[in-house]
Symmetry: C2
DNA sequence: GTCAATCTTGACAAAAATGTCAAGATTAAA
DNA sequence: TTTAATCTTGACATTTTTGTCAAGATTGAC
């Protein structure tokens, strides 16, 4: 159970562009490449995913660059994570892992699936209730805000 | 953010051996291979990981096979998941992703790290409070038991 | 219009995860 | 003791993920 590289970089790029959103406008691929220490080509590839996901807009030409497509508080981290890394648990799961039993242990009742869904629900409760804005402040503030979920996270 | 194949198979094998633990004793590699639809060699490779993790014991020879090393209720799912797939978030993270900034954005304050830790805490609250025994009943029972975590999951 | 800077796209290379194979070691039954 | 069944290990092949590259398209400044 790991975060993919695309997820890690994608979140970092959004944070970088989220900070730029308030103070100025956007950033260019070379700028992000330099500040994050990733090759320009790789930055371009990953920003493309976020653009196709609707989180970013790009402009070409001499004064071009990338900007958020809407304010940070309107960008849901759950949506972002699903765009970058897909869903943790997928319905296809049961098709790939039915084993040789003709009575697929999974279609009727499957504890592995139950565990996966429990984990996914826990993760979704966190990421669906965060926006990019929550990631722009200091780390301690984020942890403080969300560690006691009773106030903000609906079940 | 995906489960690794090793995690998926590892959990399934433990469930299979957990059911065998009460009724009889253990299972052989060919038996698990057949019921789960995975090659014997691959089963052998994955069971080895669980054995080295201390969850299983093996015996060779004509009447050999694999058995749980202790009762299902003493096998913590969090321990199992960490053995199979490592930790979701690792301290090494900040070493690999410091970027070119000499003042590593991560060592002092890093919202990406904060998000990762929030997610990991949510996952840990689920898996650290489950034992293999919880996975041996019907799926509905598992979801029911743990969906309202107030009673059983300590913060 | 020319130039330099930007983003865009598809193809390719490298690395990591996953799965397979072959040879061997151990044990119990016949 | 022989045999057949089991587990054990390391090497290798395949697949997926990740990262790189080259050629092109667009835009603003001069």
């Amino acid at each position: 159970m790991k975060f993919s590289a695309q997820e890690e970089y994608g979140i970092r790029f959004l944070i970088s562009l989220g900070k730029a959103y308030y103070s100025g406008k956007g950033k260019t691929i070379p700028e992000i490449s330099k500040s994050e220490g990733i090759s320009q080509h790789n930055v371009a590839k990953l920003l493309r995913v976020l653009r196709l996901g609707g989180f970013l807009e790009s402009e070409r030409g001499h004064t071009g660059g990338y900007t958020l497509s809407r304010p940070p508080e309107e960008i849901n981290i759950g949506d972002v994570m699903r765009t970058l890394g897909g869903k943790l648990f997928d319905e296809e799961f049961c098709k790939h892992h039915s084993g040789n039993n003709s009575f697929c242990a999974h279609s009727i009742d499957c504890s592995t699936r139950g565990l996966w869904m429990l984990i996914q629900n826990a993760v979704d409760n966190v990421i669906n209730n965060l926006t990019l804005r929550d990631l722009l402040g200091p780390e301690k503030q984020l942890v403080k805000k969300k560690t006691n979920p009773a106030k903000s996270i609906a079940l």
